[in-house]
């Protein structure tokens, strides 16, 4: 497979992952904003993570920031798919790295500070890290 086709697949994968990430983050944000009060459920565990004091920065839920992050990534990727400029790719890369680093921080927070995991947070964080790695890979190949 030639490089440019391979790279196109990477770009589309990042786009698809970002849409998945957006869906996941919107779900978490909605749950946080309009959902029921905190509870432990017989089948789905406790909302320990999503309701912890670490789940918001200056009163803004992280899930909401996550949704905005993925929406911006989707916009940047679409723009890049249309124009294919180096600057466009740079923006995607910068955004993806920002997201990836933040996702790693959130992983660490769950593992070492809150000592609890939340499925939808883990999904979002994984997408963030994978997106960053793919963007770095793409950047190296396009350079």
């Amino acid at each position: 497979m030639d490089t440019s086709k391979n790279n196109t697949i990477i770009v589309w994968t990042i786009l698809a992952l970002s849409v998945a990430g957006f869906t996941d983050a919107v779900y978490l944000a909605m749950k946080r904003i309009i959902g029921s009060p905190i509870n432990c459920f017989a089948f789905s565990g406790c909302d320990t993570v999503a309701q912890s004091t670490y789940s918001a920065i200056f009163g803004i839920p992280l899930s909401l920031l996550g949704a905005i992050f993925y929406a911006v990534t989707i916009i940047l990727i679409t723009y890049y798919l249309q124009r294919r400029t180096k600057k466009g790719l740079q923006r995607v890369l910068a955004m993806a790295i920002l997201g990836g680093v933040f996702a790693l921080y959130l992983f660490a927070l769950q593992a070492f500070v809150i000592k609890a995991w939340c499925l939808y947070c883990v999904i979002s964080d994984t997408i963030g890290v994978v997106t960053a790695l793919l963007a770095i890979d793409l950047w190296k190949k396009e350079k």
Partner: protein, 213 residues
């Protein structure tokens, strides 16, 4: 379609697509919470009760000592007790969830403390120190330590904790919670009606509304 037209079309698709996701998630989350109906098992002398027995308002809680949300609500209920203890009767019903490894043991420990008239002391102790014993490597030791701190007769406490009688009492409470349709903890009822609140102010309002009825 011109290139420009195509681009506009794609942006429109993205806006509609993301909007649809937001609406879809809203619909998924906003669906009304499961209504589990009125209190099935009336409050009786078989319950762990606190406060004014003849109060106009009874707050029934189905709870799990190892559940972090229950610990959060423990603080709220405590505040109610301080401020309106004379107007309200508080009832605690066990509903230890399966995912909490020590929840049943903790429930049995409160029952054993209850046999020495110190159910609520153990109840408070377990919530206050939830973070400690939840990750304990020796739960029995932690519980005996708490029993010592609240001044229980330890040999009696140990033999009670091991008794089949108390274990089956907790099992019965779980079955009764199932009959009530409890799906998560904590679940609260004011008199016969299920209530939801997130803060002390909200609970206080609910209690006052009931008092003024």
């Amino acid at each position: 379609m011109s290139k420009k037209g195509q681009e506009i079309f794609i942006w429109l698709l993205i806006v509609i697509g993301l909007g649809a996701i937001v609406l879809g998630m809203y619909a998924a989350v906003a669906k009304p919470a499961v209504v589990i109906g009125d209190l099935v098992i009336p409050v009786s002398s078989a319950d762990w009760r606190k406060g004014n027995e003849n109060a106009k308002v009874t707050l029934v809680e189905y709870s799990d000592f190892q559940c972090p949300a229950c610990k959060y609500y423990y603080g709220i209920v405590k505040e109610l007790e301080k401020e309106k203890g004379d107007d309200v009767q508080m009832v605690y019903r066990h509903f230890p969830l399966q995912q909490h490894a020590f929840a049943k043991t903790a429930a049995i420990a409160t029952e054993a403390a209850g046999k020495q008239g110190k159910f609520w002391e153990m109840h408070d102790m377990l919530f206050d120190r939830q973070e400690e014993w939840s990750v304990s490597e020796n739960i029995q030791q932690s519980i005996v330590e708490y029993a010592t701190l609240i001044g229980l007769d330890i040999p009696k406490f140990i033999s009670d904790v091991q008794s089949v009688d108390l274990a089956s009492r907790v099992e019965r409470a779980i079955t009764e919670g199932g009959t009530q349709g409890i799906q998560g903890t904590p679940t609260f009822f004011i008199n016969e009606t299920q209530v939801r609140f997130q803060s002390y102010e909200e609970l206080k309002q609910l209690v006052e509304d009931e008092l003024n009825k």
